[in-house]
């Protein structure tokens, strides 16, 4: 048994972290917000040219053919850097959807371009407040009708994978029957859009029943993203507390701060452990993925929530200024907590996939 990342994975993470530290200092994020930018395009191009975007796309489709756990190293570092690129939308969701549910022709057409970043995809599921998956958008005779919102990263996307009931449809966004409206996003570094389809041309991805698996796989990546971000919050808070003097000694010497950050450190390690397991299950143990992904998502949300809130709290008043860096995570965290389904959603999935419970037996019987 070896429950650790491989040396190659550690190296991949380190490489990504180094690059991002250089390209995405916090001032860069402030610039992007001030410019009302939709993304950090140069970063996207660079990651594409270095092969990072295609990490887990099969080699036959122009990717590196690495595992989900390798991809997770990139997710984790993007979370840590709070980078403003459509990685989750395009790679973790759109490309993976095509890979899971698409025809050979669809894969051949889109995966190579998604792998290089030349084409950006987005993934449309919500239809306003409430349920995770929308129920009103229709696909009929090759045409999509209805409204999806919010949809992350739709502004820079060439294609959208659109959830329609149990099915997934693929549409180009440049056609006249598609209207994109940028919404005012709480997370200023992750723009969301309204996508209105008025009889837009689209094609189905032929394999249905893949949505739950797609979300499980995305949940594993999101868990790594959250671990990276929560750890960034932990370190930021620790470093600030070490520096800041309060009543003649470092803030970090006060038990209230020590214990707060110790609890956060535990939450981060718990989230990391579940993320490891979910990443491994995504790559190598598909049967275990539903429970592993649900557990990973629950602990990741808790850790990042605590990290985002308490990091700002430790900073005190300065943490409330735009010049400080706490707010990037404070906003991103809520986005993380609701994208792909909130705690309640994943709690249901975990209970349903827990051996021994009747609920589980029933669900599995029905599945």
């Amino acid at each position: 048994m070896n429950f650790d990342l491989s040396d190659e994975q550690k190296m991949l993470a380190e490489q990504a972290r180094g690059l991002l530290a250089e390209r995405v200092p916090f001032d860069r994020l402030r610039q992007l917000i001030d410019a009302h930018a939709e993304w950090d395009e140069p970063l996207w191009r660079e990651l594409g040219s270095m092969g990072f975007l295609g990490a887990n796309i099969p080699e036959e489709h122009g990717g590196l053919g690495l595992s989900e756990l390798d991809l997770a190293m990139i997710s984790q570092e993007l979370g840590r850097a709070n980078a403003a690129i459509p990685f989750a939308s395009s790679i973790v969701l759109a490309a993976d959807a095509i890979r899971l549910a698409g025809s050979d022709a669809q894969k051949a057409e889109w995966l190579p371009k998604l792998a290089t970043g030349e084409v950006v995809g987005c993934f449309a599921y919500a239809e306003g407040p409430g349920d995770l998956l929308g129920s009103r958008v229709r696909f009929d005779q090759g045409k999509l009708t209805g409204t999806k919102h919010p949809v992350a990263d739709a502004g820079v996307a060439t294609i959208a994978v659109v959830q329609v009931g149990e099915a997934l449809a693929l549409a180009r966004l440049s056609q006249p029957a598609v209207t994109r409206t940028r919404l005012d996003s709480f997370d200023q570094l992750r723009p969301h859009f309204r996508l209105q389809f008025t009889g837009a041309e689209a094609e189905l991805l032929p394999r249905s029943g893949q949505i739950a698996t797609l979300f499980d796989r995305a949940a594993a990546q999101a868990a790594f993203e959250a671990v990276g971000a929560a750890e960034a919050c932990l370190h930021m808070a620790r470093d600030y507390a070490m520096e800041r003097q309060m009543f003649g000694r470092p803030l970090a010497g006060y038990q209230a701060i020590k214990h707060k950050l110790a609890d956060l450190a535990v939450a981060v390690e718990m989230a990391r452990s579940n993320a490891f397991y979910a990443g491994w299950a995504a790559a190598d143990a598909h049967d275990e993925l539903p429970a592993a992904a649900a557990a990973a998502r629950l602990t990741a949300i808790s850790a990042f929530e605590m990290g985002a809130r308490e990091n700002l709290q430790v900073h005190g008043g300065i943490g409330y200024t735009f010049e400080a860096n706490c707010h990037f995570y404070y906003r991103r965290e809520r986005t993380h907590a609701v994208a792909l389904g909130n705690r309640e959603h994943w709690a249901e999935r975990l209970i349903a996939n827990t051996p021994g419970s009747q609920t589980s037996k029933m669900s599995r019987g029905a599945a």
Partner: protein, 402 residues
């Protein structure tokens, strides 16, 4: 226990209600109108003048200072009735009445009282507070801005932060270090300063909410007459305590009511029902609501104490501590139960935007006016009688501290 008002209280409420009905409407800001801050201050001054003329400016302010000399309960009653109108009241008025006036009244000379009290009550002087510094927040006595005596004046240099509305204030209450050779809370002196004095430079702080309600204020060789000194040289700490004690009693609980979040959950579709059908949502919101109800009753207990002349002391911090946590948790939960839509609501969805704002503003509530950790310390020490923190800085001259 009696929730009914005493005859005297009921009479006061009737009188206040009638007066407000006759006077408040023409000062109201219409729903949906956003004033710029210059205009808001103009309107605020006018309303404050109307209050003064009606005999309702500074209800608890002693008559000797020009106030009404009323009771704490009367102040609460008047505030409740006044809150029925959308009137221009803000820090530009509140700081003068709630901070400047008490400190000048208690520590000022008769000349100072004459110079400032009535004008403040009439809305002719607006005030800002110049206490906090980048390195002096919870540890206020750690401040570095300093004043050096120069004949009949003091020359002030340094930087203050978190001064609300400083850019629209006539005057500031200021505390600075005048002696670095004594332990830190002993070398402070308190002043009032005319904000138009040369050398004062005000820069808005960009906040994470996008707004800039707060400022940084820089002092470069700013001359302040010694006549503006409140209290003795080196007695600034006691003046600060007067100000901060006044602040503590008026906190918590205005925003973020749980009932509106219950309605929000119920307005959020889920399956064939609403998000309020979820047992976990119901339990979490019910617990928050129960605590909110408790806070209201607790505040009623505190007011009862005040009306008897008792000082609730650190008990008052309990309301704020509980509110800050509940405010962040409940607004965070509301966003979560709403789903992805909470992160980018439709253009007309003002409710979700308010909750987003609450979730951001809650970070300030957890920090300002006594951070969570500071309040817990105060409750442990002053209510439970537990030992104070180990202090490394207590008897060390300020200049020898790191």
């Amino acid at each position: 226990m009696d929730f009914n008002e005493s005859p005297a209280e009921a009479a006061f409420r009737a009188e206040a209600t009638a007066w407000l009905a006759a006077n408040a409407p023409r000062h109201e800001i219409p729903e949906g109108v956003m004033l710029d801050d210059v205009e808001e201050v103009v309107r605020g001054r006018a309303w404050q003048r109307a209050l003064y003329d009606g005999g309702y400016a500074g209800i608890t302010v002693p008559k000797t200072l020009g106030g009404r000399g009323g009771t704490g309960i009367e102040a609460v009653i008047f505030a409740e009735e006044e809150a029925r109108y959308n009137l221009p009241k803000g820090p530009y008025i509140g700081i003068g009445l709630g901070m400047a006036l008490p400190v000048i009244g208690k520590h000022g000379t008769p000349e100072q009282i004459a110079a400032y009290a009535e004008k403040t009550l009439k809305g002719e002087l607006t005030w800002c507070q110049l206490f906090s510094e980048p390195s002096a927040g919870s540890d206020l006595a750690n401040l570095r801005a300093k004043a050096v005596r120069d004949g009949d004046s003091w020359i002030v240099n340094g930087q203050k932060v978190w001064s609300s509305w400083a850019h629209r204030s006539d005057m500031g209450i200021l505390v600075v270090r005048t002696d670095a050779t004594v332990p830190k809370h002993k070398g402070l002196t308190f002043f009032v300063v005319d904000m138009k004095t040369p050398g004062i430079h005000i820069r808005p702080i960009r906040q994470i909410s996008g707004a800039s309600d707060f400022n940084e204020t820089f002092f470069s060789d700013v001359g302040i007459p010694d006549a503006n000194r409140i209290g003795g040289v080196g007695e600034g700490w006691a003046c600060c305590m007067t100000v901060l004690m006044g602040e503590r009693l008026n906190q918590g609980g205005e925003r973020g009511g749980i009932e509106t979040l219950i309605a929000y959950a119920e307005a959020t579709p889920r399956g064939s029902g609403t998000a309020l059908d979820s047992g976990s949502v119901r339990l979490a919101l019910a617990q928050a609501l129960a605590e909110e109800q408790a806070s209201k009753s607790f505040q009623a207990r505190l007011r009862t104490m005040v009306s008897r002349g008792e000082n609730p002391g650190a008990l008052a911090g309990m309301v704020k501590l509980a509110f800050a946590r509940r405010y962040q948790q409940a607004s965070g939960l509301a966003l979560e139960l709403r789903g992805l839509d909470a992160m980018a609501p439709a253009e007309g969805d003002a409710r979700t935007r308010e909750i987003q704002h609450d979730y951001i503003w809650s970070t300030v509530i957890r920090i300002a006016g006594g951070a969570d950790e500071v309040l817990r310390n105060q409750i442990a020490e002053r209510v439970l009688g537990m030992p104070g923190e180990v202090r490394m800085d207590k008897d060390v001259p300020f200049e020898q501290l790191k």
